[in-house]
Symmetry: C2
Subunit: 119 residues, 2 copies
């Protein structure tokens, strides 16, 4: 019973930009790291296993896109998730991956059943 969604033209670019931010493996790894809480750059680098310069650039992109906030404290800079929609979007997509994997298993099971029934 959900009303059909009609997206205004002016939204397309903004939406695409937000989705594009999530459309990169390294950035997703960074966001996942920040979903556990605030982190400084070194911590994110360690948790993602990516290069420091690379992480720094992606953090800047994400902050400019409004997904992160920056907090400076002495030598370190801490980043934090600022857009609650990120986690919800990731959750949704995660679920669909799990579901598609599940239906894949199901399909294979029925194949297996069919195979075992007529040998």
């Amino acid at each position: 019973m959900s009303a059909s969604l009609t997206i205004p033209d002016e939204f397309l670019d903004l939406m695409a930009e937000k989705f594009r931010m999530l459309g990169d493996t390294t950035r997703l790894a960074i966001l996942r790291s920040l979903m556990a809480g605030e982190r400084n750059v070194t911590q994110v680098v360690a948790e993602t296993g990516r290069g420091q310069a690379n992480v720094s650039k992606h953090l800047k992109l994400l902050a400019e896109a409004g997904l992160l906030t920056r907090r400076k404290e002495g030598l370190q800079v801490f980043y934090q998730l600022s857009d609650p929609v990120v986690e919800r979007l990731c959750r949704l997509v995660c679920e669909t991956i799990v579901e598609s994997a599940a239906s894949e298993v199901k399909r294979n099971q029925s194949l297996l059943v069919g195979w075992s029934r007529k040998p």
Copy 2:
């Protein structure tokens, strides 16, 4: 009260691919057109105002990513949304855009109030 989301490493690429599909203005326009129901290529071309070859290529990408299904009927090929998560993702992002615009208005209003109060 939502459990914290921990994304497995093997999911990152799949998630990124799905988000990347949504991270393009033309593809979003195509998806919006298909949210109203099944369409053939010519209809999508007309509704999006993009070139035919371009639309055809994006439709192929979206279908390969599992977001669309293809149905051939005579000369025409009809495409249809096959992944219900697309609409939910778009809805979520749309809402955040509206909200951020609303808070922008609010911010400007308070600026305006402050300005009108001390002339």
